[in-house]
Amino acid sequence: MPGDAAGILLVAENPGSGSEAVDEVLARARSGDRDAFNILIMRHEQRILRLAQRMLGSREDAMDAAQETFLRVFRHLHTFDLKRDFSAWLYRIAVNVCRDSARRRKPDSPLALVEEAPVSERQESDAILAQQRRILRQALSILSSKERAALVLRDIEGLDTVEVARLLNSTPTTVRSQISSARSKLREFHLTHASGAGANKDAGKG
């Protein structure tokens, strides 16, 4: 992370003076300061990209979703109440963008995860990490978009069921059903692919 953003981040994490620094950057961004807005992007882009990639699968879709998320944030930032939790607000926008993006795909079909970014993976110094990423993508790809969204938010992002339902404009009962179904599919995938010959086969594809 570039030095200026890292510096502000360190200040933000410093108890006592952090909140003022964060509010100042946010307030500047809110008033249209593009430099401050770029600092906000630097501060949150990893989390948003990670969420988008989990929910959408491909790196390029995740980039598009993250870009749209920050554009929406910029357009509506002037309406944001500085007393609220910006991170939660941003996160909710990102989830909505990802849902919209997933909805534009074929309905009722699992998300097709493109085998992506071979150049990036070739440049990946740690082949094991690349393999783990690929396996995770494959595992998530067998889920429907709704199952995936619920599972990612519940099991990977660590939100509780009620919060997941709120983010997805759904009900806790529906979310539980989706999570249950997703876990069943993942259990079978794990039995088939993530152990013994299955895992080696997948590793060999890389």
């Binding site: 990670r50 993250a66 990423r133 993942l186």
Partner: protein, 223 residues
């Protein structure tokens, strides 16, 4: 699903839960997403049912496996790539907005210059002549006049549709203000009265209700 179907009584209820039912609850049991009675029932069932315990174990392993994979950060774009894309979009939108404003501003300036120029030209020409380019005036009366008046009457240029009030210069200046406009002289010429070369007295009402022109043609009618 295993063949041996154990049955577990729901705590506080008379109903029993089969292995099939328990197996459907296990995915939620492992994350404590069941209500209290269901959690207790599944827990009791697992104590006595080896196949369901095995199933629970598989779910927990899959869950741990997923979480361990999730700890690996996904491939991220090159540093600054996202920011570059966002800023590019913002710049594009801003440029479009500025471009639109520029076009509107330039159009407004051009229109203002055009109107100013036209007004200045009208004012300049109005000092000694009156242009008639449109039909916004009405001839309200035309009638023959006595021959004795004809030598002093104003001249009319039919081609340029201009009323030249040389002998009435003071009146000309006074009336040469907008919205003083035109008179359709061709109509006068084609009228039966002018065809006989009879001197005419023509009253013209301009678009300004306060301005009326009294026009006397000479002996030869309209030039």
């Amino acid at each position: 699903m295993h063949q041996a179907q154990a049955r577990t009584k729901m705590p506080g209820k008379d109903s029993y839960m089969s292995c099939t039912h328990i197996s459907e609850l296990i995915p939620l049991y492992i994350s404590r997403d069941l209500d209290e009675s269901e959690t207790e029932a599944v827990g009791q069932h697992l104590l006595s049912c080896e196949p369901c315990r095995s199933l629970e174990s598989q779910y927990r392993e899959a869950d741990s496996w997923l979480k361990s994979l999730s700890e690996v950060e996904p491939e991220t774009p090159a540093n600054g790539e996202l920011r570059a894309r966002v800023n590019h979009q913002l710049d594009t939108v801003e440029t479009k907005r500025i471009g639109w404003k520029t076009v509107v501003l330039a159009g407004a300036i051009a229109a203002a210059l055009l109107i100013t120029s036209a007004f200045a030209l009208t004012m300049y020409k109005g000092t000694d002549q009156i242009n008639h380019d449109a039909g916004s005036v009405a001839i309200i009366r035309q009638e023959p006049v006595p021959q004795t008046l004809s030598p002093a009457l104003p001249k009319v240029s039919r081609r340029r549709l201009t009323v030249r009030l040389a002998s009435h210069s003071s009146v000309s200046r006074k009336y040469a203000m907008p919205p003083f406009k035109a008179v359709e002289i061709a109509d006068v010429k084609r009228s039966p009265e002018t065809a006989t070369h009879t001197p005419m007295r023509i009253e013209i009402q301009t678009s300004d209700p306060n301005i009326r022109i009294i026009w006397l043609t000479d002996n030869g009618g309209i030039e």
